[in-house]
Subunit: 145 residues, 2 copies
Amino acid sequence: MRTHKILKIVFILMFILSINSIKAQEKQNQSTTKDELMVRISEIEILPAYLEEYNTILKEEAAASVKIEPGVIAIFPMFIKENPTQIRIIEIYKNKHSYQSHLTTPHFKHYKTATLKMVKNLKLIDMNSLDTEMMKVIFKKFSGK
Amino acid sequence: MRTHKILKIVFILMFILSINSIKAQEKQNQSTTKDELMVRISEIEILPAYLEEYNTILKEEAAASVKIEPGVIAIFPMFIKENPTQIRIIEIYKNKHSYQSHLTTPHFKHYKTATLKMVKNLKLIDMNSLDTEMMKVIFKKFSGK
Protein backbone atom coordinates (compact mmCIF):
# COMPACT_ATOMS: atom_id res chain seq x y z
CA MET A 1 0.00 0.00 0.00
CA ARG A 2 2.83 2.40 0.93
CA THR A 3 4.80 1.52 -2.23
CA HIS A 4 1.67 2.21 -4.24
CA LYS A 5 1.37 5.69 -2.71
CA ILE A 6 5.04 6.51 -3.41
CA LEU A 7 4.69 5.31 -6.99
CA LYS A 8 1.61 7.52 -7.40
CA ILE A 9 3.57 10.58 -6.18
CA VAL A 10 6.46 9.73 -8.48
CA PHE A 11 4.09 9.47 -11.45
CA ILE A 12 2.44 12.79 -10.61
CA LEU A 13 5.85 14.47 -10.30
CA MET A 14 6.99 13.00 -13.62
CA PHE A 15 3.79 14.21 -15.24
CA ILE A 16 4.30 17.79 -13.93
CA LEU A 17 7.94 17.77 -15.02
CA SER A 18 7.11 16.56 -18.51
CA ILE A 19 4.40 19.22 -18.92
CA ASN A 20 6.87 21.92 -17.90
CA SER A 21 9.47 20.50 -20.25
CA ILE A 22 7.00 20.56 -23.17
CA LYS A 23 6.05 24.15 -22.31
CA ALA A 24 9.72 25.20 -22.20
CA GLN A 25 10.34 23.49 -25.52
CA GLU A 26 7.37 25.24 -27.08
CA LYS A 27 8.56 28.60 -25.79
CA GLN A 28 12.01 28.01 -27.24
CA ASN A 29 10.58 26.96 -30.59
CA GLN A 30 8.45 30.08 -30.66
CA SER A 31 11.38 32.38 -30.01
CA THR A 32 13.66 30.74 -32.56
CA THR A 33 11.24 29.92 -35.35
CA LYS A 34 8.22 32.13 -34.83
CA ASP A 35 9.54 35.47 -33.59
CA GLU A 36 13.12 35.69 -34.69
CA LEU A 37 13.67 37.53 -37.96
CA MET A 38 16.34 36.07 -40.18
CA VAL A 39 18.55 38.80 -41.61
CA ARG A 40 21.34 38.19 -44.08
CA ILE A 41 23.71 39.94 -46.44
CA SER A 42 24.62 37.93 -49.53
CA GLU A 43 27.86 39.04 -51.15
CA ILE A 44 27.96 37.79 -54.74
CA GLU A 45 30.53 38.36 -57.47
CA ILE A 46 29.27 37.88 -61.03
CA LEU A 47 31.35 36.98 -64.08
CA PRO A 48 31.34 40.22 -66.16
CA ALA A 49 30.09 38.48 -69.34
CA TYR A 50 26.87 37.45 -67.59
CA LEU A 51 26.19 40.62 -65.59
CA GLU A 52 23.22 41.95 -67.53
CA GLU A 53 21.55 38.55 -67.77
CA TYR A 54 22.18 37.85 -64.07
CA ASN A 55 20.68 41.19 -63.00
CA THR A 56 17.49 40.53 -64.99
CA ILE A 57 17.04 37.09 -63.39
CA LEU A 58 17.80 38.39 -59.87
CA LYS A 59 15.37 41.30 -60.28
CA GLU A 60 12.58 38.91 -61.30
CA GLU A 61 13.36 36.50 -58.47
CA ALA A 62 13.42 39.26 -55.82
CA ALA A 63 10.16 40.77 -57.09
CA ALA A 64 8.37 37.39 -57.18
CA SER A 65 9.58 36.45 -53.68
CA VAL A 66 8.43 39.71 -52.10
CA LYS A 67 5.09 39.66 -53.94
CA ILE A 68 4.17 35.98 -53.52
CA GLU A 69 5.74 34.81 -50.25
CA PRO A 70 4.28 36.19 -47.01
CA GLY A 71 7.41 35.08 -45.10
CA VAL A 72 9.78 37.10 -47.28
CA ILE A 73 9.91 40.58 -45.76
CA ALA A 74 12.63 41.95 -48.01
CA ILE A 75 14.98 40.86 -50.75
CA PHE A 76 16.75 44.05 -51.63
CA PRO A 77 19.44 43.70 -54.35
CA MET A 78 22.13 46.34 -54.81
CA PHE A 79 25.50 46.57 -56.50
CA ILE A 80 28.67 48.48 -55.65
CA LYS A 81 28.62 51.67 -57.73
CA GLU A 82 32.29 51.49 -58.63
CA ASN A 83 32.23 47.76 -59.30
CA PRO A 84 28.85 46.59 -60.63
CA THR A 85 29.84 42.90 -60.72
CA GLN A 86 29.82 43.04 -56.90
CA ILE A 87 26.23 42.36 -55.88
CA ARG A 88 24.96 42.77 -52.33
CA ILE A 89 21.52 41.49 -51.32
CA ILE A 90 19.85 42.29 -48.01
CA GLU A 91 17.46 39.47 -47.22
CA ILE A 92 14.93 39.55 -44.37
CA TYR A 93 12.70 36.54 -43.64
CA LYS A 94 10.00 36.35 -40.96
CA ASN A 95 11.72 33.31 -39.45
CA LYS A 96 13.82 30.28 -40.35
CA HIS A 97 10.77 28.37 -41.54
CA SER A 98 9.96 31.14 -44.07
CA TYR A 99 13.51 30.89 -45.38
CA GLN A 100 13.33 27.10 -45.74
CA SER A 101 10.04 27.48 -47.57
CA HIS A 102 11.56 30.17 -49.86
CA LEU A 103 14.23 27.67 -50.97
CA THR A 104 11.53 25.33 -52.32
CA THR A 105 9.69 27.90 -54.49
CA PRO A 106 9.82 27.62 -58.32
CA HIS A 107 11.14 31.21 -58.69
CA PHE A 108 14.03 30.60 -56.29
CA LYS A 109 14.87 27.24 -57.88
CA HIS A 110 14.86 28.86 -61.35
CA TYR A 111 17.15 31.67 -60.12
CA LYS A 112 19.55 29.21 -58.50
CA THR A 113 19.81 26.91 -61.53
CA ALA A 114 19.91 29.62 -64.19
CA THR A 115 22.60 31.72 -62.49
CA LEU A 116 24.87 28.91 -61.25
CA LYS A 117 27.42 29.37 -64.05
CA MET A 118 27.32 33.19 -63.72
CA VAL A 119 28.46 33.33 -60.08
CA LYS A 120 32.19 33.66 -59.44
CA ASN A 121 31.97 34.00 -55.67
CA LEU A 122 29.21 33.69 -53.10
CA LYS A 123 29.30 34.53 -49.39
CA LEU A 124 26.22 34.31 -47.18
CA ILE A 125 26.59 36.35 -43.98
CA ASP A 126 24.08 35.89 -41.17
CA MET A 127 23.27 39.21 -39.51
CA ASN A 128 21.42 40.47 -36.48
CA SER A 129 19.42 43.67 -36.54
CA LEU A 130 20.56 46.09 -33.82
CA ASP A 131 17.06 47.44 -33.32
CA THR A 132 14.18 45.38 -34.74
CA GLU A 133 11.52 47.80 -33.52
CA MET A 134 13.21 50.62 -35.44
CA MET A 135 13.03 48.54 -38.64
CA LYS A 136 9.26 48.85 -38.61
CA VAL A 137 9.48 52.64 -38.34
CA ILE A 138 11.97 52.74 -41.23
CA PHE A 139 9.88 50.55 -43.51
CA LYS A 140 6.68 52.40 -42.63
CA LYS A 141 8.32 55.71 -43.41
CA PHE A 142 9.55 54.64 -46.81
CA SER A 143 6.22 53.17 -47.83
CA GLY A 144 4.82 56.69 -47.35
CA LYS A 145 1.98 55.51 -45.07
CA MET B 1 28.52 96.17 -92.37
CA ARG B 2 29.42 92.57 -93.26
CA THR B 3 31.54 92.15 -90.07
CA HIS B 4 28.60 93.44 -88.08
CA LYS B 5 26.33 90.74 -89.56
CA ILE B 6 28.83 87.98 -88.84
CA LEU B 7 29.27 89.20 -85.27
CA LYS B 8 25.46 89.20 -84.86
CA ILE B 9 25.26 85.55 -86.03
CA VAL B 10 28.12 84.58 -83.68
CA PHE B 11 26.34 86.22 -80.73
CA ILE B 12 23.06 84.46 -81.55
CA LEU B 13 24.85 81.10 -81.83
CA MET B 14 26.64 81.69 -78.49
CA PHE B 15 23.32 82.59 -76.88
CA ILE B 16 21.65 79.39 -78.15
CA LEU B 17 24.61 77.28 -77.03
CA SER B 18 24.64 78.82 -73.55
CA ILE B 19 20.89 78.23 -73.13
CA ASN B 20 21.33 74.56 -74.10
CA SER B 21 24.26 74.24 -71.75
CA ILE B 22 22.22 75.67 -68.84
CA LYS B 23 19.33 73.30 -69.66
CA ALA B 24 21.69 70.29 -69.75
CA GLN B 25 23.21 71.37 -66.44
CA GLU B 26 19.76 71.71 -64.87
CA LYS B 27 18.75 68.28 -66.10
CA GLN B 28 21.91 66.76 -64.64
CA ASN B 29 21.39 68.50 -61.30
CA GLN B 30 17.82 67.23 -61.15
CA SER B 31 18.82 63.65 -61.77
CA THR B 32 21.67 63.67 -59.26
CA THR B 33 20.20 65.75 -56.46
CA LYS B 34 16.43 65.58 -56.84
CA ASP B 35 15.54 62.12 -58.08
CA GLU B 36 18.46 59.89 -57.29
CA LEU B 37 18.31 57.95 -54.05
CA MET B 38 21.63 57.70 -52.26
CA VAL B 39 22.23 54.14 -51.04
CA ARG B 40 25.24 53.09 -49.02
CA ILE B 41 26.63 50.26 -46.96
CA SER B 42 28.90 51.37 -44.12
CA GLU B 43 31.25 48.64 -42.92
CA ILE B 44 32.51 49.49 -39.44
CA GLU B 45 34.76 47.54 -37.09
CA ILE B 46 34.45 48.47 -33.42
CA LEU B 47 37.09 48.02 -30.73
CA PRO B 48 35.68 45.19 -28.54
CA ALA B 49 36.01 47.19 -25.30
CA TYR B 50 33.60 49.85 -26.60
CA LEU B 51 31.08 47.60 -28.35
CA GLU B 52 28.16 47.95 -25.94
CA GLU B 53 28.62 51.71 -25.62
CA TYR B 54 28.96 52.12 -29.40
CA ASN B 55 25.79 50.13 -30.11
CA THR B 56 23.76 52.27 -27.73
CA ILE B 57 24.97 55.50 -29.36
CA LEU B 58 24.42 54.15 -32.90
CA LYS B 59 20.91 52.94 -32.03
CA GLU B 60 19.98 56.40 -30.71
CA GLU B 61 21.48 58.16 -33.74
CA ALA B 62 19.71 55.88 -36.24
CA ALA B 63 16.36 56.28 -34.47
CA ALA B 64 16.67 60.08 -34.26
CA SER B 65 17.68 60.38 -37.93
CA VAL B 66 14.76 58.30 -39.20
CA LYS B 67 12.26 60.02 -36.90
CA ILE B 68 13.37 63.64 -37.34
CA GLU B 69 14.83 63.93 -40.85
CA PRO B 70 12.43 63.66 -43.80
CA GLY B 71 15.37 63.03 -46.16
CA VAL B 72 16.59 59.98 -44.26
CA ILE B 73 14.64 57.02 -45.64
CA ALA B 74 16.52 54.33 -43.75
CA ILE B 75 19.44 53.93 -41.41
CA PHE B 76 19.37 50.23 -40.66
CA PRO B 77 22.20 49.00 -38.38
CA MET B 78 23.12 45.32 -38.20
CA PHE B 79 26.06 43.28 -37.00
CA ILE B 80 27.59 40.02 -38.22
CA LYS B 81 26.15 37.25 -36.01
CA GLU B 82 29.45 35.42 -35.65
CA ASN B 83 31.46 38.60 -35.13
CA PRO B 84 29.44 41.32 -33.39
CA THR B 85 32.23 43.93 -33.59
CA GLN B 86 31.61 43.97 -37.36
CA ILE B 87 28.81 46.49 -37.89
CA ARG B 88 27.02 46.97 -41.21
CA ILE B 89 24.68 49.91 -41.77
CA ILE B 90 22.38 50.23 -44.77
CA GLU B 91 21.76 53.93 -45.32
CA ILE B 92 19.20 55.31 -47.77
CA TYR B 93 18.81 59.06 -48.30
CA LYS B 94 16.28 60.75 -50.59
CA ASN B 95 19.11 62.48 -52.44
CA LYS B 96 22.61 63.91 -51.97
CA HIS B 97 21.23 67.09 -50.44
CA SER B 98 19.43 65.06 -47.72
CA TYR B 99 22.72 63.35 -46.93
CA GLN B 100 24.62 66.65 -46.69
CA SER B 101 21.94 67.99 -44.40
CA HIS B 102 22.11 64.82 -42.25
CA LEU B 103 25.82 65.48 -41.62
CA THR B 104 24.99 68.84 -40.00
CA THR B 105 22.38 67.53 -37.50
CA PRO B 106 23.17 67.55 -33.74
CA HIS B 107 22.44 63.78 -33.41
CA PHE B 108 24.85 62.88 -36.22
CA LYS B 109 27.55 65.22 -34.89
CA HIS B 110 27.17 63.71 -31.42
CA TYR B 111 27.44 60.17 -32.83
CA LYS B 112 30.52 61.07 -34.87
CA THR B 113 32.38 62.76 -32.00
CA ALA B 114 31.40 60.29 -29.28
CA THR B 115 32.32 57.17 -31.27
CA LEU B 116 35.53 58.41 -32.92
CA LYS B 117 37.82 56.56 -30.48
CA MET B 118 35.69 53.38 -30.66
CA VAL B 119 36.04 52.81 -34.41
CA LYS B 120 38.91 50.59 -35.56
CA ASN B 121 38.01 50.57 -39.26
CA LEU B 122 35.49 52.40 -41.42
CA LYS B 123 34.60 51.79 -45.06
CA LEU B 124 31.82 53.69 -46.82
CA ILE B 125 30.60 51.90 -49.95
CA ASP B 126 28.34 53.71 -52.41
CA MET B 127 25.69 51.39 -53.77
CA ASN B 128 23.02 51.43 -56.47
CA SER B 129 19.67 49.77 -55.99
CA LEU B 130 18.96 47.22 -58.73
CA ASP B 131 15.25 47.96 -58.68
CA THR B 132 14.12 51.16 -56.96
CA GLU B 133 10.43 50.57 -57.66
CA MET B 134 10.64 47.21 -55.90
CA MET B 135 12.05 48.92 -52.80
CA LYS B 136 8.71 50.64 -52.27
CA VAL B 137 6.86 47.33 -52.42
CA ILE B 138 9.31 45.81 -49.92
CA PHE B 139 9.03 48.67 -47.45
CA LYS B 140 5.25 48.81 -47.79
CA LYS B 141 4.99 45.10 -47.12
CA PHE B 142 7.09 45.23 -43.97
CA SER B 143 5.23 48.20 -42.53
CA GLY B 144 2.13 45.97 -42.66
CA LYS B 145 0.04 48.56 -44.51
